[in-house]
């Protein structure tokens, strides 16, 4: 039995026919839509490499069945830059060496974007570490990641102030 679902992925509508209900959002993105920026690390919700935003919230795409997310609005690492202009979190990761091998980086960046929208960490490094604990980095680039997120958060705070001024 096949199931048709419709998703918005990085702003574009994608209609997908699923011939198997077992497909996760992660596998759908990578294998069907060929958006391989989202990484499969543990495939068990333990490492965070597969983090994407679904309806504005960060989740582990490896633990989400695609068929259950019919109608969802999905944002992946491929959808955050504007042309050649990097997203501020991407730029901050480069500026602060927030990675070494880069495998966890798409998940780290999507998680950081989700975290900033949640507005639970502010500019407290201890809170940032806590709120980013769902993203593991085997290279141990955590110090750079925290610095990158702090800078991106400061930039977001500044632009919010400009907007409200």
């Amino acid at each position: 039995m096949t199931h048709s679902i419709s998703l918005t992925v990085n702003g574009a509508r994608r209609d997908v026919v699923l011939d198997d209900p077992r497909v996760t959002l992660l596998d759908l993105l990578r294998e069907r839509l060929h958006l391989t920026g989202t990484k499969k690390g543990c495939d068990r919700g333990q490492c965070g490499a597969c983090t994407i935003l679904v309806d504005g919230k960060r989740i582990n795409s490896c633990l989400a069945l695609a068929i259950s997310h019919d109608g969802a609005d999905i944002l992946t690492i491929e959808g955050i830059a504007r042309g050649d202009q990097l997203h501020p979190v991407q730029a901050a990761f480069i500026a602060h060496d927030g990675f070494q091998c880069g495998f966890c980086t798409p998940g780290q960046i999507m998680s950081a974007i989700g975290m900033m929208q949640e507005a639970q960490a502010g500019n407290d490094p201890e809170r940032i570490r806590e709120c980013m604990s769902g993203n593991l980095c085997r290279c141990g680039a955590y110090a750079g990641i925290v610095d990158a997120v702090l800078e991106a958060q400061a930039g977001a705070d500044e632009s919010n102030q400009r907007r409200s001024a």
Partner: protein
């Protein structure tokens, strides 16, 4: 993962009918279930997806002062609800001490209650496990079992219930609303999970088709907000299950404990309410001696199930610390590292 039939019911009644069939399982966020299915520990023939059902994602205050939380409210939405965190601070702190931000965004209230043990032998299909396969044996009993149960365990099973959320909930007399084949009924959360006995494969009192539709916190739980804490010891300070945890809540009047609530996590197959400890505290001044006595009562029946005798002393100390922190007063903000005994109190922004 085994092949399954996917069903998306339009109503609760349709869901109950679809899930009452043998081999059916409910799917909410799936943060635990999909993992178990990938490991072949759970092998449902049919998944009944309840995530699109209307009306289960709302929180409402009822006329009697109780708070009704829909089963599909996410762990994150509940914990970050400022009014909720103020009224039930230990519950919010417990939620924020569990899993990761990504998992809390997805995981639901109902799913959290029914999550399965993280016993490694339960997850490993090459091991014997009475919970996974009835009467097959228990490799945890003589295995690596330093994190296993010290209360309520049996020779058949020494697994623990992993939820943080359930620990303050059981202390606050939470009630579970269930829709089943014979209509709506209610079960105290304390009575939802079963101790293993000879049948560890039966983990709860739920029958086939039963759907948790809501969780209710009674009005009386509001009176404990001023002195409530959740404390959790784990092997790393974030994103780890409890080795031992405790929820403590006190109502203090005229410098005496008018009412005490205490529950332990990570020690048994269910969230463990420690009523003997609560009783001994009533009428006493909130002193270290009183809390030591309560801790001793809470662990009177504790027995190591393997290489885990340390958990009994650890649990006593966590009880004393949780009660002491509760007596000192609920902090204005949830600590930066929720429920951590190592946390500074600089504070999350929301509470």
């Amino acid at each position: 993962m085994k092949q399954f039939e996917y069903v998306r019911p339009a109503t609760v009644a349709e869901a109950v009918a679809a899930a009452a069939q043998p081999g059916a399982a409910y799917l909410a966020a799936g943060t635990n279930l999909l993992d178990l299915m990938k490991c072949n520990v759970s092998r449902p023939d049919r998944l009944v997806d309840v995530t699109h059902l209307d009306g289960l994602d709302r929180t409402e205050r009822l006329a009697d002062g109780s708070l009704r939380i829909g089963a599909l409210v996410s762990n994150a939405d509940l914990a970050h609800d400022a009014e909720f965190a103020k009224t039930f601070p230990a519950v919010a702190e417990a939620l924020l001490s569990g899993a990761s931000a990504q998992l809390r965004n997805a995981a639901t209230v109902g799913g959290n209650l029914l999550q399965r043990t993280r016993c490694a032998y339960f997850y490993d299909t090459a091991s014997r496990c009475n919970k996974r396969e009835a009467a097959s044996g228990c490799d945890a009993r003589d295995g690596v079992n330093r994190s296993h149960a010290v209360l309520g365990w049996s020779e058949s099973c020494i697994a623990t219930h992993p939820s943080d959320f359930c620990v303050p909930l059981v202390a606050l007399d939470a009630v579970v609303e269930i829709e089943g084949k014979n209509g709506r009924r209610e079960v105290a959360l304390e009575a939802l999970h079963r101790l293993p006995g000879d049948t560890p494969e039966h983990e709860s009192v739920l029958e086939p088709g039963d759907l948790i539709v809501a969780l209710r916190l009674p009005a009386a739980a509001r009176g404990l907000a001023a002195h409530a804490r959740y404390l959790k010891v784990r092997e790393r300070t974030s994103y780890a299950f409890a080795i031992v945890s405790a929820a403590a809540a006190l109502r203090i009047e005229n410098d005496k404990i008018a009412e005490a609530r205490l529950a332990l996590g990570g020690v048994a197959a269910k969230p463990w309410r420690a009523r003997a400890a609560e009783d001994v505290l009533k009428g006493l001044a909130p002193t270290a001696d009183a809390f030591q006595e309560a801790a001793s009562r809470a662990l009177t029946d504790a027995m190591p199930s393997g290489d885990n005798a340390y958990k009994i002393e650890l649990a006593r100390r966590i009880v004393v610390r949780a009660l002491s922190l509760a007596a000192a007063g609920t902090p204005a903000r949830i600590p930066a590292l929720p429920a951590s005994p190592f946390a500074s109190i600089s504070g999350a922004i929301h509470a």
